[in-house]
C-alpha cells in the first residue's frame, strides 16, 4: 500500500491534477484569480528550488533573490533584443542565473555555516547595489527595465512578425498562446511548476539527493567516506540558482518588467521563510509555504479598518471596535508583523514546519485509534526529515 502511494508516477499524477485544478478548488477561498494563482506557481518554483540547497544540504543562503532578479533581467532583455516568445527568455534566464550561481557558489562554498550565509548575503547586497548604480545601463536603475516600442527584437524581425502600435505582449510561439495574461499565464507557470517539482522529486529520491542529505547530516563523515563534498554542494547551489532564475524569468514573462527590488535581501529572506514554514527538506512543504504566504499576504494586506468593521459586524458595537483595534495592526500595512510573528512561532515550536505538524497530527490520530506507534508516512522522504527535525528540537 505504502509502496503504491509513494510511487513517482502516482505522486506526479495527483500533483498535476491538484495544481492544474487549482482555479477550481481555490475558488471557495477566494484565491482563484489569475494574478494570485500565478504567484503561487512562480514562488512555489522558487521555494522548491531553494529547498534543494537549504533543505537537502543545510546551507542557509541569504542571497537567492539575486538569481531571481538576474532571471527577470535576462528575460526582459530577451524580449527586448530577441523575441517576445517566452521560451527562449526562460531558457536564457536559467542559463544566465546558473552561470552567476556557479561563480557566487564557487566562492561562497569555500566556507560553511554562518560564514557561508554572510558571503551569500554580501554577494546579494553587491548585486543589489550595483543594479541601482553602475549597472543602470543594463538594469535601468530605479525605474526598472521595461519594454519599449523601439526595441529591436531581432528574431521577431527575422520571422517577419509585424510591428504594431503599442507594446507587443509576451507569447508562446505566437499562435500557441497569444498572450500570457490571465489564466494563460497561470497554466504556463503551472506546467513549469509540475516539471520543476518532478525534477525535485527525482533529485530527492536519487543517490545524489541522498548524498546531499548525508552532507547535511555529517559533512566530515562524507569526506572520510570518500566523497569530495564541494562539487556536490556547488551542484545543489547551481540547481537552486537556476530554479530561482526560472522563477524570475516567469515573473518577467507574465509582466515584462524587472526591478532591483526583487533582489533585495528581504526578498531572499522571504524564500527562506516559505521553505521553513512549509517544512525544510520536505518535498511538498516549500510549495505549501509559498502558497500560504502569498495567499495570506494577498488577503491580509488588502484588509483595512472598514473591512474589519464589516467582518466583526456580528459582534456588539463595543466588542466590534475592540476587535478592530486589536486586529488592525496585523493586517493591511501591518501584514509583515503577522508574517514575522508566524515565522517566529514556526521556528520556535515547529522547526519542521507545517509538514512536521501534519506528520505529528497523523501520528496522534493513529495513536488514538490504536493503530501502532509509528507516525504515519505520507511519503518516505518527507517523513524521514520531519521526524529527524522533531527529534532535534
Amino acid at each position: 500500500m505504502k509502496k503504491i502511494l509513494s510511487s513517482t508516477p502516482l505522486i506526479m499524477l495527483i500533483f498535476s491534477v491538484v495544481v492544474l485544478s487549482a482555479p477550481i478548488w481555490l475558488a471557495p477561498l477566494g484565491a482563484n484569480y489569475p494574478d494570485l494563482l500565478q504567484k503561487f506557481a512562480i514562488f512555489g518554483i522558487f521555494a522548491v528550488g531553494y529547498n534543494i540547497l537549504f533543505g537537502l544540504t543545510g546551507y542557509l543562503s541569504f542571497g537567492h533573490a539575486t538569481f531571481l532578479g538576474i532571471g527577470s533581467y535576462t528575460a526582459v532583455w530577451s524580449f527586448k533584443l530577441l523575441t517576445m516568445n517566452i521560451l527562449p527568455a526562460i531558457i536564457l534566464a536559467m542559463i544566465v542565473s546558473g552561470v552567476f550561481a556557479l561563480v557566487i557558489g564557487f566562492l561562497s562554498l569555500r566556507r560553511s555555516g554562518i560564514y557561508f550565509s554572510i558571503l551569500t548575503l554580501a554577494f546579494a547586497q553587491m548585486a543589489y547595489s550595483l543594479a541601482y548604480s553602475v549597472l543602470t545601463p543594463i538594469t535601468n536603475g530605479e525605474t526598472g527595465l521595461q519594454l519599449t516600442q523601439q526595441d529591436p527584437r531581432y528574431l521577431d524581425a527575422i520571422a517577419g512578425i509585424p510591428v504594431k502600435d503599442g507594446l507587443p505582449s509576451t507569447n508562446l510561439f505566437g499562435t500557441l498562446i497569444k498572450s500570457m495574461d490571465g489564466y494563460f499565464g497561470f497554466y504556463v507557470a503551472a506546467v513549469v511548476l509540475i516539471v520543476a517539482f518532478y525534477i525535485s522529486l527525482k533529485i530527492f529520491r536519487s543517490p545524489f539527493g541522498m548524498k546531499l542529505r548525508a552532507i547535511k547530516s555529517n559533512q566530515t563523515r562524507m569526506k572520510y567516506t570518500g566523497f569530495n563534498t564541494r562539487p556536490y554542494l556547488l551542484t545543489a547551489f547551481v540547481i537552486s540558482g537556476m530554479y530561482a532564475g526560472l522563477a524570475g524569468g516567469l515573473l518577467a514573462s507574465i509582466d515584462p518588467l524587472a526591478g532591483a527590488e526583487r533582489m533585495q535581501w528581504t526578498a531572499s529572506g522571504e524564500v527562506v521563510l516559505m521553505t521553513i514554514l512549509g517544512g525544510v527538506g520536505t518535498l511538498i512543504g516549500p510549495l505549501l509555504g509559498a502558497t500560504i504566504i502569498k495567499y495570506f499576504e494577498n488577503i491580509f494586506s488588502a484588509l483595512n479598518s472598514n473591512e474589519l468593521h464589516k467582518i466583526f459586524d456580528f459582534l456588539p458595537e463595543g466588542m466590534e471596535n475592540f476587535m478592530v483595534t486589536v486586529v488592525g495592526p496585523f493586517v493591511g500595512e501591518g501584514w509583515h508583523l503577522t508574517l514575522g510573528l508566524v515565522f517566529m512561532i514556526v521556528v520556535i515550536f515547529l522547526p519542521g514546519g507545517i509538514m512536521q505538524g501534519i506528520s505529528h497530527l497523523f501520528g496522534f490520530i493513529k495513536r488514538i485509534f490504536g493503530m501502532g506507534d509509528k507516525p504515519a508516512p505520507v511519503d518516505d522522504t518527507v517523513n524521514n526529515d520531519s521526524v529527524s527535525k522533531g527529534g532535534a528540537s
Partner: protein
C-alpha cells in the same frame, strides 16, 4: 587634503556606529554563542527611544497666542515650557543627549526580556534556527515601530549649541572655511568612550574576566562551577544597551526610520565577520576600517576610477577577507565553523 580630512572624519564617524553595533554582536556571539539577527533592530529601537523621549518632552497644550491680536489664535506650547519656562525649553533642546538616561533602563529591560524569553531557548539549537528566529523577531520589532511611528524618517535635532559646525579646517591648519558638524564629532567621541568603557569593564572587573574566559573557553569556565547562564543575561543586556545608545545618539545624524536597523545589521554582520567572529578588538578595528574605506570610496576621485565602488566596497572587502583569511582579521580558530 581638505577632502581627505572630511572623509577621514566621516569614516571615523560611521565606523564608530559600526563598531558599537559590531561590539554587541560579537559579545553575544562570543559568550552566548548566538547569532542575533535582531541586533540591528535594537540599534533602531535605541534611536526611537530618543524620538519617543523627545515626543514625551514636547507634549503640548494649546495656548492662546498673545502675539496675534486681531483674532483668537492658538499655538502649541510644550507643558515643560509652560511650567518651567526657559529651563523647560533647555531640557527639550537637550532631549537627545538626555535620552541616554531613558535609553539605558529601557534597553536593559528589552535585553533581559529578550534573553530570558527567547534567546535562552536557542542556545542549543542550530545557528540556522537562531538566525531565523531572530530574523523573525527583527521583522516584528520593526513593524511595531512602524505601526506607532509611521514609515517616514523622523528628524530629531541635536541641541542648538552643537547644531552648527566646528571649524576643523582652522584647527588642523588647513582651509579656514573647512567645517564639520559638531554633533558628528561628539558622536565619534561618544562611540570611543563607550568602546573604552566596555573594554575597561571586561578587563578590570571580575565579571568581565569571567566573560572573557567564557569567550575563550566556555566549557572550562562551566567546569569551574561558575554559573555562566546568569552572566549571559547580563552580557546580552550590555550588548542591547550598547546598541541602543549607538542608535539614540545617531538619531540627529540620520533621522530614524523603522528599517534603519536592517540596513545597519547587514553592514554590522559584515563588520563582525571581517573582524573575526568572537574577537572584540577585531570588531572595533573592522568597524573603523570599513567606515573609513566606505567614506574614501565615496570620494569622486575614487569613483571616477572604479565606478560604483562606494556601493560595494564593504561587501567586496568582506568577500576578499573571508576567502583569504577565513577567520577574519583577528578571529580565533574553531569559532562558528561547524
Amino acid at each position: 587634503m581638505d577632502a581627505i580630512l572630511i572623509q577621514l572624519l566621516n569614516g571615523l564617524d560611521k565606523g564608530g556606529a559600526y563598531a558599537l553595533i559590531a561590539l554587541g554582536l560579537t559579545l553575544t556571539f562570543g559568550t552566548l554563542g548566538v547569532v542575533n539577527f535582531a541586533h540591528g533592530a535594537l540599534f533602531m529601537l535605541g534611536a526611537f527611544c530618543a524620538v519617543l523621549f523627545n515626543k514625551v518632552l514636547t507634549i503640548s497644550a494649546k495656548v492662546k497666542d498673545e502675539s496675534i491680536t486681531f483674532f483668537d489664535a492658538y499655538k502649541e506650547t510644550p507643558y515643560l515650557e509652560l511650567w518651567w519656562g526657559d529651563t523647560g525649553a533647555t531640557i527639550i533642546d537637550y532631549s537627545v543627549p538626555l535620552s541616554i538616561l531613558f535609553v539605558i533602563p529601557i534597553m536593559l529591560l528589552v535585553g533581559v526580556i529578550m534573553e530570558r524569553g527567547l534567546i535562552k531557548h536557542f542556545y542549543k539549537r542550530e545557528h540556522a534556527d537562531q538566525i531565523l528566529v531572530t530574523f523573525g523577531l527583527a521583522i516584528v520589532i520593526q513593524e511595531i515601530i512602524r505601526h506607532f511611528f509611521g514609515a517616514n524618517p523622523i528628524p530629531t535635532p541635536a541641541p542648538d549649541v552643537v547644531a552648527g559646525s566646528a571649524a576643523v579646517g582652522a584647527f588642523f591648519g588647513l582651509n579656514e572655511n573647512l567645517v564639520y558638524p559638531w554633533w558628528r564629532l561628539i558622536y565619534l567621541a561618544f562611540s570611543l568612550s563607550i568602546i573604552g568603557a566596555v573594554f575597561a569593564f571586561l578587563k578590570y572587573t571580575t565579571f568581565g574576566m569571567v566573560v572573557r574566559a567564557g569567550m575563550a573557553d566556555r566549557e572550562t569556565v562551566e567546569l569551574l562551577g561558575i554559573n555562566v547562564q546568569k552572566r549571559f543575561t547580563i552580557v546580552f543586556g550590555i550588548a542591547t544597551v550598547v546598541a541602543g545608545l549607538a542608535g539614540a545618539m545617531y538619531a540627529p545624524i540620520l533621522p530614524p526610520d523603522y528599517h534603519m536597523g536592517m540596513d545597519f545589521l547587514v553592514l554590522s554582520f559584515v563588520v563582525v565577520v571581517v573582524g573575526g567572529m568572537g574577537s572584540l578588538p577585531g570588531a572595533v578595528a573592522a568597524g573603523f576600517l570599513l567606515g573609513l574605506l566606505q567614506s574614501f570610496a565615496s570620494m569622486n576621485e575614487v569613483k571616477a576610477i572604479f565606478p560604483g565602488i562606494d556601493q560595494i566596497i564593504i561587501y567586496l572587502v568582506a568577500v576578499v577577507i573571508l576567502l583569504v583569511r577565513p577567520r577574519g582579521l583577528m578571529g580565533r580558530e574553531g569559532v562558528f565553523e561547524d
